[in-house]
Symmetry: C2
Subunit: 315 residues, 2 copies
């Protein structure tokens, strides 16, 4: 069986990922990759661990490969940048079949191809648990959009859904029939990415910042605002996805609060002056206004204070 | 206890690692780090996992922090480059004390400071096992030294010990009194790095290549030579460390073969034309000649064929 040795596994990986790329001077198979670079670049890395970030009971192998890469792409997009390539460190437990790995790499390589990403290198290790560790780099053709650059009076906007992945997780963990909530389930297993709009926003000087909402708006919005600023939020009809509304209605939850708490959404949160709203919409046609930055610290949702309790990966 | 939350753990890390660096435009605390860059750079990433790469029974917390970083520095050095910074993904099991983490970060941050490395970002996750995943970048002021660029007739040379870390591992796993083999034990727990000589070799156009010998010369030499080339090795007196000789003599092993098999050494293997040997020595005063590249595939050690069996992290 080809996957029993390190060399065999590396040859297997070669079937899914080309070695050559205009972004690389030296690719896989040396001590380091050498990245062709004349300008600043951005770098991120994320863990994706079994029974912490995913369960094999409802993630297909292809879903695991997809999402391990997607969460890093979303971090690059949140800087207003375009991802170029990644390194892959794999923690490999005993007993996974060639069919599993084939599906895994198909899920990952399709997403990599879609975004023009090269696999530049990495590391393989036996392990007691399945884990995927990706480091990814990218570049912006405009500015790198940071957190904590917005000012009172700026509009806050969202690209992508909030609360939908949280509903999907509840459904997948046994809370409801997955077939009744297909988009919620998909949002958890295969989060949508927003690279095109994010890059376009990076090229607009009036945009104040952008951030990946991976821990839920409740936890991530204060990180985006920074110390000494607050926000007044108001979700217009349509801000909360129909499946989230239905999921919450059946359970007597407030769908606005559920969406605010969220988690695992990989939506993008941005800020811009009011006067730039048309430009934001031109760059990101799916953007929705969700409120504005205030001088008073604290967050109001429809005029009522809400607490900063989101999804904590760590707790 | 401060380490019970993600924010608390991040604040704890801030005590050990400065945020600012001339290599960074955006440091920790955003979706990505932004690296200040006008030239090509090299990138590597490595896993360092409990009970695969280290044991807590004989690695101190500071040793774990040191070695997790050191193995990546060695990869950068093997390209003839200087390391600049890294991202750190930590897999955190329950039950480790603040004292453990303080020692861990001390071990890591001292090495980072010594090499001028900035911690640029990363990820934290709960996990059933302790694991450290580092991605590191660096740059060469000369060339990036690759594998498979040497030619028949070139000298092969080593910087650093071979077999010493393997003896140390055997000792630590119960094979002998650690106090009788202090340098072997140290070679396994805290491998020496060779950054200065490596960077100097990167600036010399006559050097044909350099490689990190992490899996043992037996496995790594063929990777360095490439297809269709072989090597004739001859270890002069002093090539094998006294502790390796003694360890092998007590057990009736061939110390040359033991050193050839090696593993976890993080010595550097290089090649250069004979005429450039004085320049190699000027750049890397500790370099020792170990043989030459041949046209005939296969490896001879003191005239006898040796097989390619080294330490396999994967098997």
């Amino acid at each position: 069986m080809t996957l029993a040795s390190e060399e065999g596994f590396l040859q297997f990986i070669d079937r899914f990922f080309p070695r050559e790329s205009s972004h690389l001077l030296v690719g896989r198979g040396d001590d380091c990759a050498v990245i062709a670079c004349r300008e600043d670049l951005c770098l991120t890395s994320d863990l994706f661990l079994e029974d912490v970030h995913f369960r094999r009971s409802y993630f297909s192998a292809a879903d695991i490969g997809y999402k391990a890469l997607a969460v890093n792409i979303s971090d690059i997009a949140a800087m207003g940048a375009k991802p170029h390539g990644f390194t892959l460190n794999l923690m490999i437990p005993e007993g996974l079949t060639e069919s599993f790995w084939s599906d895994f790499f198909h899920g990952m390589s399709r997403l990599a191809t879609e975004h023009g990403l090269v696999l530049a290198g990495g590391d393989l290790s036996r392990s007691s648990l399945l884990g995927i560790d990706v480091a990814m780099w990218g570049q912006s053709r405009g500015r790198y959009l940071q957190r904590q650059r917005c000012q009172p009076g700026d509009l806050l906007f969202l690209i992508g859904e909030i609360g939908l992945a949280r509903a999907g997780l509840s459904v997948l963990e046994g809370g409801a029939d997955p077939e009744a909530f297909p988009q919620a389930v998909s949002a958890h297993l295969r989060p949508s990415l927003h690279c095109g709009p994010a890059e376009a926003l990076g090229r607009n000087d009036r945009v104040k910042g952008l951030m990946d909402v991976s821990d839920g708006l409740a936890r991530d919005l204060p990180r985006f605002l920074g110390v000494g600023r607050g926000a007044s939020l108001s979700f217009e009809p349509g801000t909360v996805h129909e499946e989230v509304s239905r999921f919450c209605r059946e359970r007597g939850f407030s769908s606005q609060e559920f969406a605010f708490l969220g988690g695992e959404d990989y939506a993008l949160l941005g800020a811009a002056p009011k006067e730039a709203w048309k430009e934001v919409l031109a760059a990101a046609p799916g953007a929705r206004r969700i409120g504005m930055v205030t001088e008073e610290p604290g967050i109001l949702l429809s005029g009522r204070p809400v607490s900063e309790q989101g999804f904590d990966h760590f707790g």
